[in-house]
């Protein structure tokens, strides 16, 4: 905590230094909110702030205008300190209309700043936002606990474009640029990056370039000249490890990781998929990179997407399919086939709220049990999970390695939160990435010698691709005879094969990194066991708890099937185990089952990420109960 505030006088306006700021842009889903948010993020990142973002939008592309259901938000947490999450509570809320205010006000800190577009608070908008008749929050003093600034963005935008020759509709569409320009002023930011973006985006329409830049600058100048605003803020660059950084979202990182794995294995990438939220951006990204020999196949359905990938794998490609929960459900039978065929295949599940169609644009971690257990028969599949946007790169690369080395389908779990969220990434150079060793079975002149289901020391069978003389063989979904791969209904053989397939997957635990602590010690009273996209928030919560004097530790499990070989011994060192998950308790079930430890869940199932406070409170409650039981109330 700062004992006193630092002030800098700059151009007659006061500038206050902040460690970190959480800001949300909110408006109709057609207001260009996501674009404004992304632009501010890029500018903050380029400046050297640490960042974490959380775009939150309705499933409808153009949801009913002005309604609560149609509110789209983009939350950004940036700072001169280490940033792990998009922020629990907002410092600044920028709203385009009444509905955006109503939907997000509860997340604004007391004393926080509201910047409201007056035009979005007319009678019609107030009614759509379900405010009472004659109630206007901008005028009735109900926002007295906040710093409220109102700007007639629509009027200002139109005024700045009065001579541009643009129609009213086009002019109004650049409202988001006015607000963005204003926020750039407020945080002392340069507009270069956004200007470059505008020039690039509208490169075929000079009129739109001029108009958008003009409105952006008008917003900036409004801050400068308007009497209303006296304060500006400065958030200095964060002390991050030296190096070259870029911004990255989880889905981008997944796509890049796949291309990297293809390059490092010498295989051609084949991505069979079917459009689904929130996984489609992986397809969009990969389809741009055909000059890497990447083949994307937009199939007729989810089943065809995975089956085409199985065909491509049979042919010797690095085959990948991606989807989200409902699509994974459809692919299930084919995952079983890939497992039986023992062909490499990567399945990416960008999880979203379920079941069924569920909450397509909201995040959840509720597909873990599906990933680990959700197939007919004894069907073990390695499952790993990424914990942050940039970590998607490392984990999808790892999924490819495991798939190829072990001749098995591998499931990678990410989620909507890290898939769409962005963070700075100190990206690797190609030479830093390990090679993925691939050996196709070699030509043989005597077919009798080729055994498609003979196994190496990892229990992986040979990858013999069509076109290889002398290795002609047949594979299929019927039970295989050990070694020969012929169809077999022999009872003992079936049991043997089930055990072999399980042993192969279990054996992976010896070739993955041991579980390490993210924070805290092995003798801590409470161990928090996280997985997936909750990494940042658990990390923040644990750091705060330790600072408050609690004995807490955090491990984050990236390998979920099989677990790292030392996980059990770590768990047994802690009296209390808490498993925070955005589901109704899934990893906690597996851990209790496998290690017989009394782990308890911290669960949130609202389609939203945890707040650090959710986790901290669960720890307080646990320790309170314990001390009460011990006759020693805290």
């Amino acid at each position: 905590m700062h004992l006193y505030k630092q002030y800098i006088f700059y151009m007659s306006k006061l500038t206050e230094i902040k460690d970190d700021v959480t800001i949300m842009f909110a408006g109709d889903s057609g207001d260009g909110i996501q674009l404004a948010g992304t632009q501010f993020t890029d500018t903050a990142a380029l400046f050297g702030n640490d960042i974490s973002t959380f775009p939150n939008f309705p499933a409808e592309i153009r949801a009913p205008q002005g309604t609560l259901a149609g509110v789209s938000g983009f939350q950004l947490h940036f700072g001169s300190v280490k940033i792990n999450t998009p922020g629990d509570k907002l410092d600044v809320l920028v709203v385009m209309n009444a509905a955006a205010l109503k939907a997000n006000l509860k997340n604004l800190k007391k004393g926080g700043t509201i910047i409201a577009n007056i035009d979005g608070f007319d009678r019609k908008n107030l009614k759509l936002a379900q405010y009472d008749d004659n109630q206007n929050p901008l005028e009735d003093n109900s926002l007295n606990n906040y710093k409220l600034y109102t700007i007639d963005v629509t009027k200002q935008t139109k005024a700045s474009l009065s001579e541009s020759g643009l129609g009213t509709k086009d002019a109004e569409r650049s409202k988001n640029m006015f607000l963005l320009g204003f926020i750039y002023w407020m945080y002392n930011r340069k507009m270069d990056s956004t200007i470059k973006f505008i020039e690039d985006k509208f490169k075929h329409n000079q009129q739109l370039i001029d108009a958008n830049i003009k409105v952006l600058k008008a917003g900036y100048n409004f801050g400068e000249t308007s009497e209303v605003f006296s304060n500006r803020y400065e958030v200095k660059a964060a002390p991050m490890p030296k190096g070259t950084y870029r911004g990255i979202t989880g889905n981008q990182a997944t796509a890049l990781g796949l291309i990297a794995a293809a390059e490092k294995s010498g295989l051609k990438l084949f991505y069979g998929t079917y459009p689904i939220t929130p996984a489609s951006d992986i397809l969009h990204e990969l389809s741009k990179h055909k000059n890497f020999g990447v083949k994307t196949f937009q199939a007729e359905d989810e089943i065809a997407a995975i089956c085409a990938s199985i065909g491509a794998s049979f042919g010797g490609a690095l085959a990948v399919t991606g989807s989200s929960g409902p699509g994974i459900a459809l692919k299930t039978e084919a995952i079983g086939l890939a497992l039986m065929l023992e062909l490499p295949l990567v399945i990416v599940n960008v999880q979203r709220g379920g079941p069924s169609t569920g909450l397509p644009t909201k995040t959840e971690q509720a597909d873990l049990l599906q990933a680990v257990y959700g197939r007919n028969g004894e069907a073990p599949v390695p499952v790993i999970a990424a914990c942050s946007p940039s970590n998607c790169f490392d984990m999808v690369f790892e999924a490819c390695r495991i798939a190829v080395e072990y001749m098995t389908p591998v499931m990678l779990l990410t989620d909507g939160y890290i898939a769409n969220g962005a963070e700075p990434w100190k990206f690797p150079s190609s030479t830093e990435l390990p090679e993925i060793k691939v050996e196709f079975a070699q030509s043989s002149n005597t077919i009798e010698n080729f055994m498609p289901y003979a196994r190496n020391e990892k229990l992986a069978r040979p990858w013999a691709i069509p076109g290889t003389k002398g290795l002609e063989h047949r594979i299929g979904g019927l039970e295989k005879e050990d070694i020969t791969g012929n169809i077999s209904y022999d009872p003992n053989n079936h049991e043997k094969m089930v055990k072999l397939r399980a042993a192969k997957v279990e054996g992976i635990s010896h070739r993955i990194p041991e579980q390490t602590y993210e924070n805290g010690q092995k003798n801590a009273d409470v161990l928090l066991v996280g997985w997936g996209g909750t990494y940042g928030v658990i990390k923040s919560a644990v750091a705060e708890l330790i600072a408050e004097g609690f004995s807490v530790a955090h491990i984050h499990v990236k390998y979920l099937n099989p677990f790292p070989s030392n996980l059990g011994s770590i768990l047994k060192q802690h009296k209390n185990i808490l498993v925070p998950e955005l589901n109704n308790g899934q990893l906690v079930k597996i851990i209790r089952d496998k290690y017989l430890v009394p782990a308890q869940g911290i669960n949130k199932i609202q389609g939203l990420p945890f707040h650090a406070s959710d986790i901290k409170e669960a720890v307080y409650t646990l320790l309170n109960q314990k001390s009460i039981l011990a006759g020693n109330p805290a």
Binding site: D42, L46, F47, G48, S193, A237, M240, P241, K242, T244, Y245, R246, G247, I248, I259, A260, E263, K268, F270, H289, K290, N291, F292, G293, V294, K295, F297, A299, E300, I303, A304, C307, A308, G311, A312, F314, G315, A317, A319, A334, L337, L341, F427, S429, S430, I447, P466, G467, T468, G470, L471, E472, H473, R474, I475, G476, G477, L478, N486, I487
Partner: protein, 339 residues
């Protein structure tokens, strides 16, 4: 196998015991395929047979080539992915009426639309055999089966018309009991660049015996079938005494005593409209005045294959942009330094 010795039918036989019911039409199809392939100039290692589920789908186990016996209805989707990455392979899909037209209907039509260069052998026996006798999407209305003891109320698919509707670039019909014709059609299918759909009438002597006997039995075949050949008139009948004319868009049976060959419908494989009319000659053969059932190549056109277009696009973009540089995409468009 000796490198220099030409491939023989025997080289294509595996050590697996063939497990179809004795008398099944599948035996004939296997025999014709093993007979024809050595004539196609292919290397055994470059041939892949892919099947789904059903009696017919056991086929790959009996072919000494690469093969995959996959899951129900998905052979077409698997073959699509294989062909997308390996255009050098000769890919044959083995499927049945249930496999391709029911559970795999979606992949089937999309493969035809995309026109992957594969050969699809659709064994149509108008019944589910492997699951022991339920009606299939090609069973005729009213058919008594295990799952329709009072007769099915389902309306049957006309597979050739379905393929035409999906814009297949090669569509033919043949039968298990006419090996010479089948071999000819198989060869044509192989030579056709693009998706070749062959409907093969195949007798299931256990659950649907005699479904096609009017077309296949010596005594009735000539009266109930018409074998179409490009550029040739549509002639049929016990002594080739009947012909078919096109009256507007309606085919009519005429006696050659009253008409000359020149008056008849001359088959043109490249005419899509006429192919539709031909496909609709799908009468119940037991009805009085029924049109004969056509066999042969209904339609063939040259149209770009998906895998060629895909490969061309990859090549073109690689040429114009240069081969992808991993470091460049890892870096992206805007970076910053922390010093």
């Amino acid at each position: 196998m000796d490198d220099n010795k030409p491939l023989t039918a025997k080289d294509l036989v595996t050590n697996q015991e063939v497990r179809w019911c004795p008398g099944c039409g599948d035996y004939s199809i296997l025999k014709q395929v093993q007979t024809v392939i050595p004539e196609l100039g292919l290397k055994r290692e470059n041939i892949v047979f892919i099947s789904g589920i059903g009696c017919s789908s056991r086929f790959p186990y009996y072919m000494e080539t690469y093969g995959m016996h996959s899951i129900h209805g998905r052979a077409t989707a698997i073959a699509s992915g294989l062909k997308a990455v390996r255009d050098d392979l000769s890919v044959w899909i083995i499927t049945g009426d249930g496999d391709s037209l029911s559970i795999g209907g979606n992949h089937f039509i999309h493969l035809l639309r995309r026109n992957f260069d594969v050969n699809i052998l659709l064994f149509n026996n108008e019944i589910y055999g492997l699951t022991k006798g339920q009606y299939s999407p090609t069973s005729h209305k009213g058919q008594i089966t295990k799952s329709s003891p009072f007769g099915t109320v389902d309306y049957a698919f006309n597979p050739v018309a379905l393929c035409l509707g999906a814009d297949a670039s090669f569509i033919a019909r043949t039968m298990d009991r006419d090996p010479i014709h089948m071999r000819e059609i198989l060869k044509r299918a192989h030579l056709h660049k693009g998706a070749s759909a062959i409907e093969i009438y195949q007798n299931c002597n256990v659950f649907n015996d005699g479904a096609f006997e009017l077309f296949t039995e010596k005594t009735t075949k000539k009266l109930h079938t018409v074998f179409v050949n490009h550029g040739k008139p549509l002639v049929f009948g016990q002594d080739s005494e009947k012909g078919i004319i096109l009256d507007g868009t309606t085919p009519r049976i005429v006696e050659l005593s009253n008409y000359s060959l020149n008056d008849l419908w001359i088959h043109d494989e490249s005419d899509r409209n006429k192919a539709f009319i031909l496909a609709r000659m799908f009468d119940d053969p037991t009805q009085e005045g029924a049109m004969p059932r056509p066999f042969g190549v209904f339609y063939a056109e040259t149209r770009a294959c998906y895998e060629d277009l895909l490969n061309q696009q990859v090549e073109k973009i690689t040429t114009t942009r240069g081969k992808g540089n991993l470091d460049a995409i890892l870096r992206g468009n805007s970076v910053w330094e922390i010093v």
